[in-house]
């Protein structure tokens, strides 16, 4: 009887460990479902520079006048000052709705942001892959529909789980001023002045109104963590 109960316990232990291991392996190996696009109507794997000074925006059923943008008045890129991307790092704390930008362990910027409320901002470690001086973003349906031209200082980021086509980015927001609280459809909203500073500081080093990251001009890393208070 003792031998039988002992072998029975061993059998159950083996079964438990096997089931545990299989479940853990499935979680690791099987690809997660792809993250949906934040700006459902304007997502693209090739986001375009767009400056539309005569257009009006819509947000929360309100008509919004976008800021005027003159590319001719823009700060000219400084050639030959490509900083190693590894020195700079951006952190976004969703729990506190804060952004921290560091260069060589020195704090360059600390500011409040607005992360996703209508769609969660993805967490993880990302790379900036393209910077646009301005673009148009639209999405949502019904009361949530929005269409925003001249979204300023856009830094798109991605990783292996959040593809470039999902269109998540850090950018300036001219349609609300509720920073420190989730407000967006997934992107990280910033005050325009903060987005402008970050845009010119972060890599890839700005070469024009559209700047793609490359092997010679890599994008700054962005780490997003925590849980937004939504």
């Amino acid at each position: 009887m003792n031998k039988k109960s002992s072998s029975g316990k061993k059998r159950f232990l083996v079964i438990f460990i096997s089931a545990f291991s299989i479940a853990a392996l499935v979680q690791i190996i099987v690809p997660k479902s792809p993250v949906s696009c934040g700006n459902s109507r304007s997502c693209s794997s090739h986001p375009e520079l767009s400056v539309q000074n005569k257009a009006v925006g819509i947000f929360n059923k309100q008509t919004i006048i976008p800021p005027l943008i003159s590319l001719q008045d823009e700060q000219q890129p400084v050639l030959g000052t490509s900083d190693p991307a590894g020195k700079k790092h951006i952190f976004v704390d969703l729990s506190q709705q804060k952004l921290y930008a560091y260069e060589d362990n020195i704090l360059f910027m600390e500011t409040s942001i607005s992360s996703g409320k209508w769609f969660p901002t993805p967490t993880g470690e990302f790379d900036i892959w393209v910077k646009l001086r301005a673009t148009r973003m639209s999405g949502g349906v019904g009361d949530d529909y929005y269409d925003l031209p001249n979204v300023p200082y856009v830094l798109f980021f991605y990783n292996k789980d959040v593809s470039q086509a999902t269109g998540f980015s850090l950018h300036g927001a001219y349609w609300h001023n509720n920073f420190g609280h989730p407000m967006s459809h997934g992107c990280v909203n910033m005050r325009i002045t903060d987005a402008e500073k970050l845009y010119h500081w972060a890599n890839p080093v700005t070469t024009g109104p559209t700047t793609y990251a490359s092997k010679e001009n890599t994008g700054t890393k962005v780490t997003i963590y925590g849980e937004a208070p939504i």
């Binding site: 438990f16 096997s18 919004i64 704390d93 001023n177 920073f179 420190g180 325009i192």
Partner: protein
Amino acid sequence: MSLLKHIHFMTITVISIGIVSGFLFVNYGNKVRNTFLASATYTPTTPTPTILPSAKEEVISSDSPDGKKKLTLKKIREGSLTAYSVFTSDIPEVASPSEVLIYEATIDSSQRLSIPYNTWSPDDAYVFLQEDSQAGRDYYVFSSTGGSFANGEQYLHIRDLFTKGRPEFTLTEVTGWAAPYLLIVNTITTDGTEGPSFWFDLSSQSFIQLSTRFN
């Protein structure tokens, strides 16, 4: 239950526990890894605060999010009273002064006026101030150009308007602007539990209850 059925039941139970444990183990591990990623890597340096010009005089300012306007609050404490003056100005300052006085008052020093972080409306047309006193927290909206509202008022008293319009809730906080004319208002219920969020629409001076809370 026969022995065979007992073994089957135990086998299924053990497999189920194993599967659930495996999922939980991997997901918990991922969460811990993500929260650890940034917190311990860099040590932030604390900036040194600037020295105020006088112990009795204090100047606080807040730039608009687009960097074009500045709201300045000056306060001078004189005994049990504090004199406040609030004005807006352009950034950068042009040759002729662009300051516009939008409010001034001398109040008891137990009351304190301050500038909330999201004071500016997105279109720079309005600002809101916060007043803290023993009676609680209050909010006032001003035109940034010093103009008056539809009924000739110099400012809109948000708590007063809310109490009249929605007495079943208590206003706890105004966090910022959802749009150029919409202020976000959070509330609690009469029994102290979390209440809904509202938009205060400046154009109609009405409160719109929202289906989602703006935390």
